[in-house]
């Protein structure tokens, strides 16, 4: 969706209202699936496999609805440049409503578990606290930022697709610990259910796609989208023609993952997997290079061989240091 929105902005094309609403709908359904998946993984890391099994069982309900809509469980490929591929018929709308009706009472239960279960709270309450100042300094985004009390949500701050019409309530807590991260995500589920129902009930009529220009004019654009894990940022540059000159993606995990090293200071070793799960890491999203520019120090770029040599030297030096 981010890419489609970016290219549409470059081409000066806007998707029809029905397509925008369907994009919003699918984005929220994806958030539901992602948060339920995350809840399971976190529960598993906390040694609470029962919750893992329950939440993944319930997640199948939303996957069924997604499959009814677009025919696939994981890659929806709903978005095309200029609109969406799939229409929400009455039948599909009914199946989505049905999935939400199943999930809503289950989520009430999950909220109860993450806020009241004594064993779970022992693993999460007061663990890995990040204060609002820390969160600001580390540049946290998405649910971990909101759990620390920062009101950060692209859906509300810079509405895209149909979010200007369907305004989500930004859920924040102040505790900033793991328990808060759990609570924020589970409470966001209710917000997503409300939005999904609202979109389905007020889906505008009209076309699914608008005509997309074959050639995109030259220019640059930055598009942000609130993915389930936080802000996803795309930079797209066009030199004109059919293919982009450059597409740079910054995934939410890349912003959040470094905070684990700070939050883990003073925590038990056994808490580290849970702290890592707390930012909802996507490891494949981390296969990126970060170039740090220090003021005055200039920057340095290492090639693959140099980086490898740097790693070997670093560990060799560390070994001699520990043996000495």
């Amino acid at each position: 969706m981010t890419y489609a929105l970016a290219v549409e902005a470059l081409a000066g094309v806007e998707a029809p209202p029905r397509a925008q609403a369907i994009r919003t709908l699918v984005a929220e359904m994806e958030r539901v699936h992602s948060h339920l998946l995350w809840l399971g993984v976190t529960a598993h890391e906390a040694g609470f496999d029962t919750l893992f099994m329950y939440s993944w069982r319930d997640r199948e309900a939303i996957l069924d609805a997604l499959e009814a809509l677009c025919g696939n469980r994981v890659n929806y490929s709903v978005n095309v440049l200029g609109g969406v591929k799939f229409d929400v018929t009455d039948e599909i709308a009914a199946s989505i409503h049905q999935a939400i009706d199943i999930l809503h009472p289950r989520t009430v239960h999950y909220l109860n578990v993450v806020t009241h279960d004594a064993a779970f709270l022992q693993r999460t309450r007061g663990v890995g606290i990040s204060t609002p100042q820390q969160a600001e300094l580390l540049g946290l985004i998405g649910p971990p930022a909101r759990a620390a009390g920062l009101r950060r949500d692209v859906r509300a701050d810079a509405p895209y697709a149909a979010y200007a019409a369907y305004v989500p309530q930004v859920i924040t807590t102040t505790a900033g610990d793991l328990a808060a991260r759990c609570e924020v995500r589970v409470r966001e589920l209710f917000e997503s259910y409300r939005l999904i129902r609202e979109v389905l009930n007020t889906l505008p009529q009209g076309e699914l796609t608008t005509r997309m220009k074959r050639n995109v004019p030259p220019g640059e654009v930055i598009q942000r989208v609130e993915a389930p894990r936080g802000e996803a940022l795309y930079f797209v540059r066009s030199k004109g023609g059919e293919t982009p000159d450059r597409v740079k993606i910054r995934t939410p995990t890349l912003c959040n993952i470094a905070s684990v090293a700070v939050m883990a200071v003073g925590a038990q070793l056994a808490d580290v997997p849970l702290l890592l799960a707390g930012v909802d890491p996507c490891f494949s999203c981390n296969d990126r290079t970060v170039r740090v520019r220090q003021a005055g120090a200039g920057d340095q770029l290492l090639r693959w061989g140099q980086l490898r040599q740097y790693g070997i030297d670093f560990y060799a030096q560390k070994r001699t240091a520990t043996h000495a």
């Binding site: 399971g40 469980r73 994981v74 490891f283």
Partner: protein, 159 residues
Amino acid sequence: MQNLILNALEKAKTWARLNSPWVLHYNSGSCNGCDIELLATITPRYDVERFGVKLAGSPRHADVLIATGPVTRQSRDRLLRIYQQMPEPRYVMALGACALGGGVFHNCYNTLGGIDAFLPVDVYVPGCPPRPEAIINGVVLLLQKLKGEAVPHGEPQPA
């Protein structure tokens, strides 16, 4: 007499293997899509633990290596090491389009190809990502192979 005992032992071992194929999952460069569907396969709706399929934490406890994703430069050595740590007989299942031949990462500078470029693959499960039903089908094919039955090749035959 000795042969008889060895035969009986071998049969018992096959029986045990058929009823508890423990799985080691290794992501050699996947986008996590296949990994999530593999995990979904062990959760209540699909629940392959009914058939004794269980994720093992260590390669030394595993019978089957399920590898997802293309083999990246970074992960090749680890993949081979994990495979070498597994006790024999060991089986390999390649899961998803990328594990089969590189998928969307085909000919990328940092990937080296599919799993079968490095390991002898017993079962290929295509899909991006494969549905849990497809993964279960792959396990069934593997069990047939373990039993020494003929495994269908090419187009699926009508039942």
